[in-house]
C-alpha cells in the first residue's frame, strides 16, 4: 500500500507563512533602492527559484506498507487440562485448535499466550498444599485469570465445564454480569464429550419472601442434554430443609414430565405453610439411572418468611399525580395487601354513556366502613372528601374508632380534603391534629356565617347566603363545601428541630430511628433523620391556616397534641424572604393509634428531586419511613441474609465460605468492621479474616474466605451447620441473626465430569461468548475460531492511517514542488538571469 509522508498541514502553513514573510521583507528592502514595481517583481522572481530549494528539507515520501496494529496484540488462552478433559480426548482436540490459532496469529502479527488450568491452583488457593490433579478448580481459576489485565486483547477458554465444587452460579448473576462484561472480547469454547446424558437443575426462582399465612411457592428450572431429548421421561423433584440434627426434612415431593422433544422444563412447587424465619432450602432431582452427572441435581435457595401481610385501604378522592406515585410505591412493596378505591367520577358528572360502557363500580362504603375496616392496618385517605363519601355518621365514627383502637391513618391533603364539614361537624375532628379555629376555609372570611346544617349532612354550614369566594378549583363543587386549600404556592421544606427539648419529639425520632435504621445510611447526619427533605423547594397547594399556626403547633394549644415534623416556609421569590410558615407533615397519637398528616397533594415531586438512577429514590424512602412509623414495625430489615454457602474441599481440607448480606446497615460496615463478628459452625471469626466486598449502591456485603478445616472438630464434615452474625453500630444498635446452612462437598473429576450446563453458566457469569463444539465438525469449528480472531483484529481501531484514505487538500495540487524539485530549480534559475540583466532587457529606464 502506498504511503505518502510529505508535509502535514501545519508544516505547510508554516512554510507558506515564512515564504510570504521573506517576500515582504526582501521586497521592502529592494523597494528602498529600486523602483517600486521592479523591486517587488525582483523579489518574486528570486524567491520563485529559491523556494524549491527550501522544499528539499521536506521531501515527499512514497512507500509500501501493510496495515497493522500500532502495538503487538496477544491472544490469551486458558486451557483446561484437567483429568476429565484428558479422559474424554477433549484436551487433545483443544491442543490441535490452539495450533491452528497460532498459525492464524502469525499472519495477523499477534502472539498466543497459553495458561493451563493446572498452573493456577496455588495462585488461587490460600493453602500451600497442591490440590490433587484429579480436582478441577475451574471457576476459581477462571475468575483469577480473568482478573488479570488483558487490555483489549481477546481471551479464549477451552474447557469441558468440569469443576470440583458444585456451585449456585446463578446467585446474583444479574448483578455481577454487567460489571464483568465490559472490556476484552471473551470466548468460551465448550469441549464436552459427544454423549453426556445429563439432567440438571439450572435455576430456582422464588420471591425470596413469603408470609406465615401463605404457602410459599418456588419454580425450579431443569434441563437435559441433547441425547435425551427424543424420549419422554417422568421424574421427581424434592424440596427439603436440613434440621439442626443434620437430618433432612422433606417439604414437598412432586412429579413432573419431560415431554418428547423438550429440552427444558419449569416446575412450580407449593411449599407448606412455614413459621416466621429465614430458611435455606434445597431443590433435589431424584436421580434417574441414565443421568451420568449427578452433582447438578441440587440447587440451594433462600426464603424468608415474614409475619402476615399488611392490609391497606387506599381511598383517593380524584385521580392525580400524587395518587399515581403513591400507588406505585404501595404496589412495589410485596408486604402490602391493598384494597383501593379511587373516585373517578363525581356525583355531579354528566355522562351520556350507559353504565355498561364504563368500567366504574360503586364505592362500597357501607361494607368497608361497617364490616371490613378492622381487616386493615392502615387507612390512606388521599385528597378525599370524607364528609361527602362517608355520608353516614356511623361510617365516620367507625373510621375514628379504627384509628383510636390502634389503626394507622395516613392523611394526604388536596383540594378535596379538610372541607369545612370534615373539620367542624364530623367526628373526624376528634383525631385531627388541629382545631377548626386554626384552619381558614374559602368561605370562612370575617363575615362568614357559622350556621350549622341541622341535618348534619355533608352540606352542613353550606348555604347560598354565604357563598365562598372562589379562588381555587372552582370547577369542583367541593370548593363550595368550604375548602381550605390555597392555589399553588412556592415554599421550602424545613425539617423541624430535632434537638428540641420536647420529650415527645425526641421519642418520635428515636422510635423512627429504631424502626428504620437505614435512615442513618440514607442521611449521614444522625440527628437529622429526614434531612433529605431539608430545603427541598416545592410548588404545591397547602391548606390555609392562621398566620401563627406554625408557632401554635409547637405549643400546648393543639387539640391532639401533635408533632409538627416538617413545615413549609413560603417565601418571596424575588428576595427569598420567608413570608409565612405552614405545617407540612404532622404526626398525632389518637388513642392507641397513629396518624400522619401530609398537608400537600404534590409530595410526588420528591421523586424527581434528586438525579438518582434509582427509581423515585427520595420519595420511596420518605414513604418507607411514613409506613414504618404507622405500622409500628420495620418493613425493611436493616440487615438480612442474601446467601450463605459452605463448600468443603475434603481433599485439600479447606472450607470455602461465602456470606452475602444486604440492607442499609451494610453502609456502616466500613466505618468499624471490628464491631461485626461472625460465627461459622460454632467457630468465631472477625471481619479481617475475610476478603470483603462492599457494594454501597446495592447495599450488599460479601465476605469470602478459604479456611483450613482443622480449626473445627471433626464434626464439621456433616450436612449442615449454623452461620451467624452479630453487628453493632450507634446507627442501628445491635443486630444478629443465625441460620442453618448445608455444607456442600467437593467432587473429583471422576464424579464431576464435564458439564455443558456448568460451562454455559460460567460463560454467562463472566460475560463470554459461547461456542458449543458438540455437533460442529472439526473443520467448521476451526473456521469459526479463525473468523473470530480475525474479526477481532480487523475490528481494531488502533491502526496506522492509510494515506490513500487521506482527503486531498489544496496543497496536494502542488506536490510537484517536491517531486521534480531539481527540474524546477533549473527552470526558474533563468529568472535570476532576468534579474541580473534587467537593464539590458528593459533598458536604462530601470
Amino acid at each position: 500500500m502506498l504511503h505518502d509522508y510529505g508535509f502535514d498541514n501545519v508544516w505547510r502553513m508554516i512554510f507558506v507563512f515564512v515564504f510570504l514573510l521573506l517576500f515582504l521583507v526582501y521586497g521592502w528592502i529592494l523597494s528602498r533602492r529600486e523602483k517600486f514595481w521592479w523591486a517587488w517583481l525582483t523579489a518574486a522572481l528570486r524567491l520563485m527559484w529559491i523556494a524549491p530549494l527550501l522544499f528539499l528539507m521536506w521531501p515527499k515520501k512514497i512507500g509500501i506498507g501493510i496495515d497493522q496494529p500500532l502495538r503487538s496484540r496477544n491472544l490469551y488462552i486458558l486451557l483446561d487440562d484437567s483429568r476429565s478433559m484428558q479422559l474424554s480426548g477433549a484436551l487433545e482436540k483443544a491442543q490441535s485448535k490452539i495450533e491452528i490459532l497460532k498459525r492464524s496469529c502469525e499472519e495477523l502479527a499477534c502472539n498466543v499466550e497459553i495458561k493451563k488450568l493446572s498452573e493456577f491452583r496455588n495462585g488461587v488457593r490460600t493453602s500451600d498444599e497442591e490440590a490433587p490433579l484429579d480436582y478441577t478448580y475451574m471457576e476459581e481459576s477462571l475468575a483469577f485469570w480473568l482478573a488479570a489485565k488483558f487490555e483489549n486483547d481477546p481471551v479464549l477458554v477451552f474447557s469441558d465445564g468440569g469443576d470440583h465444587l458444585s456451585r449456585n452460579l446463578d446467585v446474583k448473576l444479574d448483578v455481577i454480569t454487567p460489571k464483568i462484561r465490559e472490556g476484552a472480547s471473551k470466548l468460551y469454547l465448550y469441549l464436552g464429550s459427544e454423549k453426556e446424558s445429563n439432567y440438571a437443575i439450572t435455576n430456582s426462582r422464588s420471591l425470596g419472601l413469603s408470609f406465615s399465612n401463605q404457602k410459599p411457592s418456588v419454580e425450579v428450572s431443569l434441563q437435559r442434554s441433547d441425547d435425551l431429548i427424543d424420549t419422554q421421561r417422568n421424574l421427581q423433584i424434592q424440596i427439603y430443609a436440613i434440621r439442626p440434627d443434620n437430618s433432612e426434612q422433606i417439604l414437598v415431593t412432586q412429579s413432573f414430565r419431560f415431554q418428547k422433544g423438550e429440552r427444558s422444563v419449569d416446575v412450580g412447587l407449593d411449599l407448606p405453610v412455614m413459621t416466621k424465619g429465614q430458611y435455606m432450602l434445597y431443590a433435589r432431582l431424584l436421580t434417574p439411572p441414565e443421568d451420568r452427572v449427578v452433582w447438578d441435581n441440587h440447587h440451594a435457595f433462600m426464603i424468608k418468611i415474614l409475619p402476615n401481610t399488611v392490609g391497606l385501604l387506599h381511598l383517593l378522592g380524584a385521580p392525580s399525580w400524587d395518587g399515581r406515585f403513591l400507588r406505585r410505591y404501595i404496589k412495589s412493596e410485596i408486604k402490602y395487601d391493598t384494597v383501593s378505591f379511587y373516585i373517578l367520577r363525581d356525583p355531579t358528572d354528566l355522562i351520556p354513556e350507559k353504565d355498561r360502557e364504563l368500567s366504574l363500580i360503586p364505592f362500597p362504603v357501607e361494607r368497608l366502613f361497617t364490616k371490613e375496616l378492622s381487616r386493615f392496618k392502615v387507612l390512606i385517605m388521599q385528597n378525599f372528601a370524607l364528609s361527602y363519601f362517608l355520608d353516614q355518621e356511623e361510617y365516620r365514627n367507625n373510621l375514628v374508632r379504627f384509628v383510636k383502637d390502634g389503626g394507622g391513618l395516613l392523611f394526604i391533603g388536596g383540594p378535596r380534603a379538610l372541607l369545612r364539614h370534615d373539620v367542624q361537624n364530623s367526628s373526624l375532628k376528634e383525631i385531627l391534629p388541629f382545631s377548626e379555629d386554626q384552619i381558614r376555609f374559602t368561605d370562612s372570611n370575617e363575615k362568614a356565617s357559622t350556621r350549622k346544617d341541622s341535618a348534619g349532612g355533608p352540606f352542613a354550614g353550606f348555604g347560598l347566603g354565604r357563598m365562598p369566594y372562589l379562588n381555587m378549583h372552582s370547577s369542583s363543587a367541593f370548593s363550595f363545601m368550604g375548602s381550605s386549600w390555597n392555589s399553588s404556592l412556592n415554599f421550602r421544606l424545613k425539617v423541624d428541630d430535632l434537638d428540641d427539648s420536647e420529650q415527645k419529639r425526641i421519642s418520635f425520632w428515636a422510635e423512627l430511628q429504631s424502626l428504620a435504621p437505614e435512615l442513618e445510611g440514607v442521611f449521614p447526619n444522625s440527628k437529622n433523620a429526614w434531612s433529605g427533605l431539608q430545603d427541598v423547594s416545592f410548588a404545591s397547594t397547602l391548606p390555609k391556616v392562621k398566620e401563627d399556626f406554625a408557632n401554635e403547633i409547637d405549643g400546648t394549644q393543639m387539640v391532639q397534641d401533635p408533632l409538627n415534623l416538617i413545615h413549609a416556609e413560603i417565601f418571596d421569590k424575588k428576595n427569598s424572604t420567608v413570608q409565612e410558615k405552614r405545617p407540612f407533615v404532622m404526626a398525632s397519637f389518637p388513642g392507641k393509634g397513629r396518624a400522619l398528616w401530609i398537608l400537600s397533594d404534590e409530595i410526588w415531586k420528591l421523586a424527581n428531586q434528586t438525579p438518582e438512577l434509582a427509581s423515585r429514590g427520595l420519595y420511596t424512602r420518605f414513604m418507607q419511613m411514613v409506613f414504618q412509623w404507622l405500622l409500628k414495625e420495620d418493613l425493611r430489615p436493616a440487615l438480612q441474609w442474601q446467601t450463605a454457602s459452605l463448600q468443603l474441599d475434603s481433599r485439600s481440607d479447606l472450607m470455602g465460605l461465602r456470606l452475602e448480606l444486604s440492607g442499609p446497615a451494610v453502609l456502616e460496615f466500613e466505618s468499624n468492621p471490628k464491631l461485626w463478628s461472625w460465627n461459622i459452625c460454632g467457630k468465631n471469626f472477625d471481619s479481617s479474616q475475610f476478603k470483603v466486598d462492599v457494594d454501597k449502591a446495592m447495599e450488599s456485603l460479601v465476605l469470602e474466605a478459604d479456611v483450613k478445616t482443622s480449626i473445627w472438630p471433626s464434626s464439621i464434615k456433616r450436612k449442615a451447620c449454623s452461620v451467624a452474625y452479630e453487628a453493632q453500630s450507634p446507627a442501628f444498635g445491635n443486630l444478629k441473626s443465625e441460620m442453618l446452612v448445608g455444607v456442600q462437598q467437593s467432587m473429583s473429576d471422576e464424579e464431576f465430569a464435564g458439564s455443558e450446563w456448568n460451562a454455559r453458566s460460567l460463560a454467562k457469569k463472566y460475560g463470554m461468548e459461547w461456542i458449543n463444539s458438540r455437533g460442529i465438525s472439526s473443520g467448521n469449528l476451526e473456521e469459526q475460531l479463525v473468523t473470530w480472531i480475525k474479526g477481532f483484529m480487523v475490528g481494531d481501531k488502533e491502526f496506522i492511517k492509510s494515506p490513500t484514505e487521506r482527503s486531498l487538500s489544496y496543497w496536494d495540487y502542488f506536490h510537484w514542488l517536491n517531486g521534480y524539485w531539481l527540474s524546477w530549480i533549473l527552470f526558474f534559475m533563468i529568472l535570476e538571469v532576468v534579474v541580473q540583466r534587467r537593464k539590458w532587457i528593459f533598458g536604462a529606464r530601470l
Binding site: 392525580s320 356525583p347 355531579t348 358528572d349 368500567s359 363500580i361 364505592f363 372552582s474 397533594d601 410526588w604
Partner: protein, 260 residues
C-alpha cells in the same frame, strides 16, 4: 351508595348539579392536570399557558373527577438537560422531538430517560409527515430507558386487556392509522408511555375539533370523530394517573362481566 347516574335521583344530587352549574362561570387557575408539550425548540424555558383545549377540558371535567385545564404548556428540551423536570408527570411529544432527544446530547437523553424511570409518562404521537425511522426511534428510546438497568423497557401493541382499554370507558379497540397500531411502552411492570399512530392531540385542539373526521380521513384514510378520540384521551389520563388500578382483583369481575 352509587356515585353515578342514579345519584341524581335524590335531592343531594340536585344541589350538586346547581353547584356545578354555578361553578361553570368561574375561571380556574389551579387545575391539577394540563397538557405539557415537549417542544424541540432551543428556548431554555417553559412557555406561558395558551388556551387550546377548551372542548377537551370540558369533556374531562363533565365526565370525570379530574380537574383538567384547557391550557397547553410548552416545555423546551434544553430545560430537561439542565436538568429540570416538568411540573406535570407527563409530556406529549412527537417523533421529531424524540429523535432530537436521542441524537442531540447524551445528558439530554439521560435525564429524559431518568425522568421516565422515576415515574414520568410519555405520550408519543406520530408526526403529520410520517417519520420513516419511527420503529428504530421507538426501540432506541426503549433501550435508553433500560440503559444500566436490569429491567427492560419494551413497546407492544395495546392488548385488549390493557388498562388503557378499561381505565374509564370500555373500549375493545383503538383506531389504527395506515396499519399502524397504538402501542404502550412498558417498564418495571408499569406503563410509562403511549404511542398514538396519528397526531391526535393536534386534532383535539379547539380549532380542529370539528374537522377531525376530515383530518383523519386525509391522514389515516378512515373517519374518526373528536368525541371518540376524547374518550381515548380520558382513558389515557386515567391510565397515567391511576396506573393499573382497574386491573385490581376487586374491579376485574365486574369489568369482565360487562365486556361479555
Amino acid at each position: 351508595m352509587r356515585f353515578y347516574f342514579d345519584s341524581f335521583k335524590n335531592s343531594k344530587s340536585i344541589v350538586w348539579m346547581c353547584l356545578v352549574l354555578f361553578s361553570c362561570f368561574n375561571d380556574s387557575h389551579a387545575d391539577s392536570v394540563w397538557v405539557t408539550h415537549l417542544n424541540s425548540g432551543t428556548t431554555k424555558g417553559v412557555s406561558e399557558f395558551t388556551s387550546e383545549y377548551k372542548n377537551l377540558s370540558s369533556a374531562i371535567k363533565s365526565k370525570t373527577s379530574i380537574e383538567m385545564s384547557d391550557k397547553l404548556q410548552e416545555f423546551y428540551l434544553p430545560k430537561f438537560a439542565q436538568p429540570s423536570f416538568p411540573e406535570q408527570g407527563w409530556v406529549f411529544a412527537n417523533m421529531f422531538t424524540i429523535s432530537k432527544i436521542l441524537d442531540t446530547s447524551s445528558s439530554l437523553s439521560s435525564y429524559f430517560s431518568q425522568w421516565l424511570r422515576q415515574g414520568g409518562f410519555l405520550v408519543l404521537e406520530e408526526d403529520v409527515e410520517r417519520n420513516s425511522k419511527e420503529e428504530s426511534l421507538m426501540e432506541r428510546l426503549a433501550e435508553r430507558i433500560s440503559y444500566r438497568s436490569d429491567v427492560r423497557a419494551r413497546w407492544r401493541e395495546v392488548p385488549v386487556e390493557h388498562e388503557l382499554m378499561r381505565s374509564f370507558f370500555l373500549h375493545t379497540s383503538f383506531p389504527s392509522c395506515k396499519n399502524r397500531m397504538w402501542k404502550v411502552l412498558e417498564y418495571d411492570q408499569r406503563t410509562v408511555g403511549v404511542y398514538a399512530p396519528f397526531p391526535w392531540m393536534e386534532w383535539l385542539k379547539d380549532r380542529n375539533w370539528s374537522n377531525v373526521p376530515e383530518l383523519s380521513k386525509r391522514v389515516c384514510e378512515q373517519s374518526m370523530d373528536a368525541d371518540f378520540l376524547s374518550k381515548i384521551f380520558v382513558n389515557m389520563v386515567m391510565t397515567a394517573l391511576t396506573t393499573d388500578y382497574k386491573m385490581d382483583q376487586i374491579h376485574l369481575p365486574e369489568i369482565l362481566k360487562r365486556l361479555q
